[in-house]
Amino acid sequence: MSGDHPSAPLLEVAGLSVAFATRHGVVRAVRDVDLSLRAGECLAVVGESGSGKSVTARALLGLAGAGARVTARTLAFEGRDLRTLGGGQWRRLRGRRIGYVLQDALTSLDPLRRVGLEVAEALEVHGLARRDDLDDQVIRLLTEVGVPDPRVRFLQYPHELSGGLRQRALIASAIAAGPALLVADEPTTALDVTVQAQVLGLLEERRRRGTALLLISHDLAVVARLADQVAVMFAGEVVERGPAAALLSSPAHPYTADLLAAVPGLDDPDAPDATDGPEAPHGPDASDARGGPGGPGGPVRGLPIVRTGPAATTGCPYAPRCALADDRCRSEPPPPVSYGEGGPEGEDHMVRCFHPGRERPAAAFETPVAPVRVKNRAVVSVRGITKRYRSPDGSRRTAVGDVSFDLRAGEALGLVGESGSGKSTTARIVLAEIVPDTGTVLLDGEPWSGLRERDRRSRRSRIQLVDQDPLSSFDPRFTVERVVGEAVPGRMPRRRRRERAAALLGQVGLDPALLDRVPARLSGGQRQRVAIARALAPGPEVLVCDEPVSALDVTVQAQILALLARLRREAGVALLFISHDLGVVRQVCDRVAVMKDGRLVETGAVADVFRAPRAAYTAELLAAVPRIDPGRTAGERPHAAVTLEGHP
């Protein structure tokens, strides 16, 4: 360890700015960020995509990139000024004193190198191990991060490891040199909940042993468990920073409050923020409404571009999306102010807002309409379907094994499982994109899966798909008008088709002015709305939603879920809702079916399954879901004692 006094900050950052020169002008990705982190502490930087959180992390590692201009008043690590470091000095620091864990472990690991070598490299480069005991050290490290059979894994290639094991191997190589600070950029984003819980536990273990953690995440619930301090970033600025317990229990900045409200919870499905959340009826979606200087036409979504003079950056960056914004918010940038009483050790709770902690008006919520009528008629009947694939080694793998369920008219059925559980294969069979080996699917009580495509085509309009990645499901040459218009059935003149497409956009809460845009120039939320509009166009009875919100920021996700809930009431469509996210399913669905290894392990009403799961696997899934429980953190502060433990 550094040997510093425990309360002296390990990392001290003040006035950090990162700017990139682009063809469209200078993009100030990070502006005036202050952070500080002590040994054994965890600081979480939270924000949506484009908020500058990853750029901040990279700047701290000297990896902001050749085109980046990094400036800071203070940038010190272990008492050293990082601003003056040269390339070689950075390299000696990186990996040795600061470890870096990236999100995507498959692409972060060299596919042609055995896992053991990858981990050994960190030790070798920094001259921390003799050649003859290098292997033993690596195996010790792999054991330490909980890789089973480390002697076998040592010789395997990254593609032979599961996502969770790859992430562990990556963490092993990041901690190999015993760094004082571990920077983890979205370390669990690509992982299933149960694996995510394990990786978080591993990081917690590192922190308990005295390593400081800088955790970058878009997910407040993930960081809530680990963080001592939370910094919320928006449009390149830290808008709120404070002790985790105080910030999560009484958020001061409206953006933090919006983020917290948007997190799908497991416990409270009837809260107004859940299904009837902040969906502005015809308003543009969040990432669009950010507009302002860096509006949707800008090169980087949501980042202000300095074009001419200071006029472009006036006001609070959150003002366009904020329910509390007034003229002052729009004209002058709010300075950082202290809020509340701070943390138990006198940590400051900082917020950049003119109205810190004020209650947001409830007017933004949609008023609930009549409850959904679920009829007892099955629109989709799945009867004992099985699909097996041949693995590369010749064995047969059962993707879906003997799955049966009914989807009733107007019902929302959630299909939940981890990756590889067969839920997407089931969806494709229900959509008759692939034919099951055995079993049948009936649509409206008539044969569906066994038909020839020619006979099926006329009835395809009855069942439509909303995909995880809407952009790739649009013809890249098509405008929104053509994407949606093509799905409108029947022959009609172009004007009439355009009107229908405009009406459909209105139905999903999009401005018809977007008709002439190319989908590539829309935000993620807008694209998903266009995809939903297209799916509604033929007037289907069933929408199959395959992970429809998993690629979206949490605030946009809440809007799309609210939209689906509304459309379900208005258009009376049944939803087959596939997701790995239990919180999302809880919000949207009436019934839930849990899949594991291609089989249904449990089916039942959402409330029952979530309250009293019958299958052990369901209970395990539920337990692994990260949740925000500020009460726990505020009450006992378990980390305070632990921090001291690291420095006797």
């Binding site: 990139g65 050749a66 400036t71 003056t84 470091l85 390299r91 995909d467 790739s472 013809d475 120039r521």
Partner: protein, 296 residues
């Protein structure tokens, strides 16, 4: 990625700017001066090919008294071994040269597109057969393949163009097939099937247009290759026959007089080089732009 930032300084923040000239060019839509020059030069060659008499006269007028002169006021690029004006012959040689280069690329594009689509969307047997045939043809170097075809068909402008078409088409077929397979497996074709569109409509509306765009780009980049191949064939005496002016043939004839008049080889060689370069630069720029837009 491993490059450390070179601007970690505590100094005041200065916004970086693009150089003024570059910014100015970008505004009028000419991002790179090299590309602008290439496009201008290629356009000039095309104009010369279309309206040669607007630029020069009498490419075949023989004047033995003035043979093998260097550049003079009357003959800015000099004269050849028969006293013919080199400038006039270059201008009139643009048409056959371009015809072989551009014409064969177009033909190869059309033939290759049909071939590739058949291979991708036709039955399994037809597809395999079409691709194995392409593999066989591609295993010969392009110029060798063209030589073989000219040997069978006989020399001449049209046959040279056909020969290069045969040499280029399998390459196009392969690209089209690969692209068609990608498009056929794409989410948007999946979505179109899900909407219940008929296969013919999906082919015409979604698959074909998305295959053609990259094909056009490839074709532009390939014009340079075809031009070189055409010039090579006529350099070997297999293209347009004398006395018709053609750049490759002019270059071939100049070899015999190199010790008397080195400019005789310089200008046709320069014409070929510059045209190929400008076609390639323009094609690559188009490619960058297309792919840049795709990514955005």
């Amino acid at each position: 990625m491993s490059a450390a930032p070179d601007a970690v300084t505590g100094g005041p923040y200065e916004p970086a700017r693009l150089p003024a000239t570059r910014a100015c060019l970008t505004r009028v839509g000419l991002p790179r001066p090299g590309v602008a020059l290439a496009v201008a030069f290629f356009a000039l060659v095309c104009l010369a090919a279309a309206f040669p008499s607007a630029f020069a006269h009498a490419p075949d007028q023989v004047n033995p008294a003035l043979a093998l002169r260097g550049p003079t006021a009357g003959h800015p690029l000099g004269t050849d071994q028969l006293g013919r004006d080199v400038l006039a012959r270059l201008v009139f040689g643009a048409r056959p040269s371009l015809l072989v280069g551009v014409g064969s690329t177009l033909l190869a594009g059309v033939a290759g597109a049909a071939w590739g689509l058949l291979a991708a969307l036709g039955g399994r047997v037809a597809g395999e057969a079409a691709m194995r045939l392409a593999d066989v043809l591609l295993s010969f170097p392009a110029v060798l393949m063209a030589l073989l075809v000219v040997a069978v068909l006989g020399p001449g402008t049209r046959n040279a163009a056909l020969a290069i078409t045969v040499a280029l088409a399998p390459g196009f077929a392969r690209v089209v097939r690969a692209q068609a397979l990608v498009v056929r497996g794409s989410s948007y074709v999946r979505a179109a099937v899900g909407l219940g569109l008929a296969p013919a409509r999906i082919l015409l509306r979604h698959i074909a247009p998305n295959v053609v765009a990259p094909l056009l780009i490839l074709a532009t980049v390939n014009v340079g290759t075809a031009l070189i191949a055409g010039a090579s064939l006529s350099f070997l005496g297999l293209g347009p026959q004398p006395p018709a002016p053609e750049w490759g043939a002019m270059l071939a004839q100049s070899r015999d007089y190199l010790d008397v008049s080195w400019t005789l080889a310089l200008f046709p060689g320069a014409a070929i080089t510059l045209t190929v370069m400008s076609a390639t630069v323009a094609g690559r720029a188009l490619q960058d732009r297309y792919e840049g837009r795709e990514a955005r």
